[in-house]
Amino acid sequence: MLDKNGIAKRIAQEVQDGFYVNLGIGIPTLVANYVRNDIEVEFQSENGVLGMGPFPFEGEEDADVINAGKQTITTLPGASFFDSALSFSMIRGQHVDLTILGAMEVAQNGDIANWKIPGRMVKGMGGAMDLVASAENIIVAMMHTNKRGDSKLLKQCSLPLTGVGCVKKIVTNLAVLEVSNKGFKLLERAPGVSVEEIINATEGDLLIEGEVLEMKI
């Protein structure tokens, strides 16, 4: 079974040379730590920066240079700042190659819910709805089940949607899955996790073809 860093590590393998990547808050943020050194990737943050670097050294924080999580950041050579409209032009115009974000629920048709739980305080969707409605390549990073042990991979989302039919791939603590028209296609098992465990933790239809290999991370 993977921990959060493990999920991030596995997703990092999906990041290809020359990709512009938008990382959501939470596990997705960790992905940046595990991207191979021999490929070139640029991170975009929707508040208006392309070419983000690591967090600043203590004492070098700049209130005017933050990411979408409101964290202080640095920029790398070749970085640029821009306004929110141009930032979402990058996203909506599909110039960003890969979006990685968390989710509360994913349905087997690719629907995603990650912004609202009825009856609870709703903080808002931020840029998530623009990202999922626009991106051609969306990977969801999440735990396979919620805190109560209920599956987050469902036949249908029960929570209010963030976007429809948009998720392509899901990486959880248990597995890597792909959205197909016959249900979640099981691509890989997490180290030490059996297909049986994945079946038990998945409420949606699971498509298993041949032997399911253990992921290499």
């Binding site: 508040n47 208006g48 690591p54 967090f55 924080e61 240079v65 202080t72 700042f81 305080m121 903080k123």
Partner: protein
Amino acid sequence: MINKKVKNVQEALQGVTNDMTCMFGGFGLSGIPENAIAQLVKLDVNGLTCISNNAGIDDFGLGLLLQKKQIKKMVSSYVGENDAFERQMLSGELDVELIPQGTLAERCRAAQAGFPAIYTPAGYGTEVSEGKETREFDGKMYVLEYAFKADFAFVKAWKGDAAGNLIFKGTARNFNPNMCGAAKITVAEVEELVPLGTLDPNNIHIPGIFVQRIFQGDVYEKRIEQRTVRPKL
């Protein structure tokens, strides 16, 4: 050169009254019009509809207006980190319209650029598109979203001149340029008002034509919401 310079924040906010719709630049606490917000608190205007990506924190940014219950409605994309906000929203005192961040930016830009409405894919098939017109183009679904109509836009820039030209710094730019000229009156506050002719015409982010009033803010706290650092090796 048409002079946009006003003496101070008092003069800059003349004409702001109860029940107006106001835009506020900023992302989180970065690039917010600190001086305009402080003056709105002093003016004690209320019933405001605020268009702003976020709602500040309890003791800073728009949170200051929330504390005094000056805000009737928030139009935002993300409103966490604010207790007063949560209480007023749950009690029904505060009306909240949550919209996607890119939609927020583009509805400002539409107002600035004279477009009545835009078609965006964001929010299609979700609560956000309920009751809204939708339409297919090339096999993809879009939601019709209207340009904002606001009375005042309060923006904050790094440098500006008396002609109203603005330059922003880093990610403090965010929604600020998109809100300039998107309201009847745009009030720009700057960290530094520089002499006319100092700014390179090539590097101006927002030409003065989009700004009605400009002043240099007395002080900028520029609070950091999530100070995140790595240790020095």
